[in-house]
Subunit: 207 residues, 2 copies
DNA sequence: TAGATTGTTAATCGATTAACAATC
DNA sequence: TAGATTGTTAATCGATTAACAATC
């Protein structure tokens, strides 16, 4: 089974969700074709950049015509779902973990929370938004899961991260402000709301 | 009142929360001095980069000695709090807004949720985690607030964004996947959890 | 065909890193 | 003083953009 990996650069990968999101909107509007010019305008990107990105991702724009919406969407979805990355677990049922478990919007984007874990014995057995809180010992039963959302105290983040990797997790959405050290086949993305508010503050104050 | 604005580049601003976070940790450990070498190692950054950043931000490292922790922290905090950006409002009491209102961790980082708004009349008057849900008409009473968290449906995001700007908001943390068009004195940061999960999926699938 | 749009090659830009000078 | 660490100048790298060629 040939794998046509063109090794997409990080900067391009980070724009793919934008494209996918816009393509979904076009599908809903039943738009068949889209030009890079239009796409660039609506997403606030450079049009050459869009063309380069789409060419790299899909490689089949037609001069004078543009790109087939469905075709682009299919190509992008193929990039995403080669392996099953729809099932996601949340580690930590504290403030953030709880808020995430309460949030019901994952399904809309084809992600599904299939487990919620905590190390606090007094929480285990309770449920948040129909997600029973499980002990970390049960992690091994979730070995098909590739993505974990990490929402534990910073002090234990690295050690729990190591446990996750040990049971086969390949990608971590890290809500802690602890920098995680992992092999480079493990992918990490960090979300820190307070950090983003801080950045906004600095930008506002810097005129 | 002289303003020693060195016009800090975006890439540097984005690292400042990392530094601040680490400095807080050092203060807690009662560490007085820190070298760029050490800082770089612990944060996973290049040491020349750290030196350049700190020099730009604080400009007072001492060869052979390093940087005074307290001094660095003070300099960074001065960047942040020239204007009052501690008070934050949340717009939208739907899935995400609710989850954010439930999340109690803002105070730890000196941010405080001072208002929660929604346009749905059936929600107004109710409370989430002791935050009463207010009508958007009441926005004008919050004119001292500079930062808003936007968590409304994508379709209304731009028009509500415009309203926010009209009442004096200078920075928006945008949880919608709508690209917001604003004057460039208004600062925007986007958070899209689904997009980050998608990026992780692609990276995992791309080997 | 002519014109609109894609695709590619070269130039530019910004950020990072390397090499080295300055200094406590 | 010698050595460790900061600060700066130049080189490198990657990503974006500009100019233009290819093509439906």
């Amino acid at each position: 089974m040939m794998n046509s990996n063109k090794n997409i650069p990080k900067s391009v990968i980070e724009r793919i969700p934008l494209y996918l999101n816009y393509l979904n909107y076009l599908v809903k509007k039943q738009t068949e074709m889209i030009s890079s010019t239009r796409l660039a305008m609506d997403l606030g990107l450079g049009e050459v950049q869009v063309r380069k990105d789409l060419n790299l991702i899909a490689g089949n724009g037609k001069p004078k015509i543009g790109y087939y919406v469905i075709d682009l969407k299919t190509k992008i979805e193929r990039l995403i779902s080669q392996y099953d990355t729809n099932d996601v677990i949340i580690i930590g049922a504290g403030k953030i973990g709880k808020a995430l478990a309460m949030y019901d919007g994952f399904e809309e984007n084809n992600f599904s929370i299939v487990g919620l874990f905590d190390s606090d014995p007094s929480l285990i057995g309770k449920s948040i938004n129909n997600h029973p809180i499980l002990s970390l010992d049960e992690l091994k039963k979730f070995s098909h899961v590739k993505i974990a959302i990490l929402a534990v105290p910073a002090e234990v983040a690295q050690s729990i991260c190591d446990q996750l990797v040990a049971v086969g997790i390949k990608g971590i959405l890290n809500f802690t402000n602890q920098k995680l050290i992992v092999n480079d086949d493990i992918k990490i993305r960090n979300i820190d709301i307070a950090a983003l508010l801080t950045i906004l503050s600095i930008e506002i104050n810097n005129n």
